[in-house]
């Protein structure tokens, strides 16, 4: 199967490969997989808690060229966006941009899922820390 030029470009020069500190409360991590090909994709984002803008994004994907290209593109797209904006990214936009064939659609779904999972992880961390903050506050009030 021939890969499109855009897939090859992202595959050969992937953007934003790497990782961010998983335990940082301002970092959201999404780890997702596609059993069809046994792909695993980790996408991380660093968020400014004041503005909810994604300031940095990194990924690491073990899988086929389309999965790598989809996650590489996803990190490019989410940088500088707010969480709300990032949540509107649809896998069909990735398919269109990269010209993915029908048998590789699940790769783009994976990238969309990774974004959502990372945001959910970040929000989970934030609500825990606010809850802890609240407990501390009420403890001091007592």
């Amino acid at each position: 199967m021939a890969y499109s030029d855009k897939v090859l470009d992202h595959y050969k020069n992937p953007r934003n490969v790497g990782s961010l500190a998983k335990d940082d409360p301002n970092v959201g991590t999404g780890l997702v997989g596609a059993p069809e090909c046994g792909d695993v994709m980790k996408l991380q984002m660093k968020i400014n808690p004041e503005t909810e803008v994604i300031e940095d994004a990194k990924f690491k994907t073990f899988g086929c060229g389309s999965a790598i290209a989809s996650s590489s593109l996803a990190t490019e797209w989410i940088k500088g966006k707010t969480l709300e904006e990032a949540l509107t990214i649809k896998n069909t936009e990735i398919v269109k941009e990269l010209n993915l064939p029908p048998v590789k659609i699940h790769c783009s779904v994976l990238a969309e899922d990774a974004i959502k999972a990372a945001i959910a992880d970040y929000k989970g961390k934030q609500s825990v820390s606010t809850a802890e903050g609240a407990t501390v506050a009420s403890a001091t009030a007592d």
Binding site: L31, G33, P35, G38, V40, K42
Partner: protein, 244 residues
Amino acid sequence: MMDRIATEKQTARVTSPLQCWECRTALADEQENGIHFCSQCGKVQPLATKTDYFSFFGLTRKLGVDAAQLEKQFHQLSWKLHPDKFNNAGAYERDLSLERTAALNDAYRTLRDPAARTEYLLRLEEVRKEGKVKQQAPPDLLEEVFELNEHLEELRAAKRSGSDPRALDEQRHQLEKARGTFQHKLDQVLAELTNQFAAWDALLDTRPGDAAAKRTVLARMNEVLNRHSYIRNLVTNVSDELEQ
């Protein structure tokens, strides 16, 4: 995978009764049920569109397949359908023997392997559909799979850069251990999968029309199969790396 035989449920066809292309003997449903030759004149017949890998061997969609029996049937059919036997036949008949031989190989390869057989059934029953139905990755496995892939990557990088033998040995040792763990998991998940076979086969016997019950069993098998795909890939990747 070749899709010479239907892999998804066929829509009902309006057909006149099937006939032998040579002697016009009515073949009725025979052709869809593991009958490869005309009962009258013995000519090899084209594949019916409804034929699937199970019916090719005259089997129902039960998953408990007798491996020895299947192998025997495979050898017998390979012999009977072998294109060499059709050297003196007409072009059409030669094509039919080729077509059936190719289908035989695909069907046998799929049905003899419990995981491939399950995946095939799930596609026939439309539980698995590329691009239509999303498969869920087992979350508890992902972390481990990711880490092991990172180990593999490190080992490859270390090999490339020709780093010192002690570090390489240590990496290999880690991977050997991981391979053992995952091989054990693979055995477990295969056992889990084959345990589901009995439930499915019993359903086909007792309540073949109970669509809801079927969906439940199929969904469970699909989940186990997804775990299986990950673990099998890992074992293969790690083994490849270690044996290089």
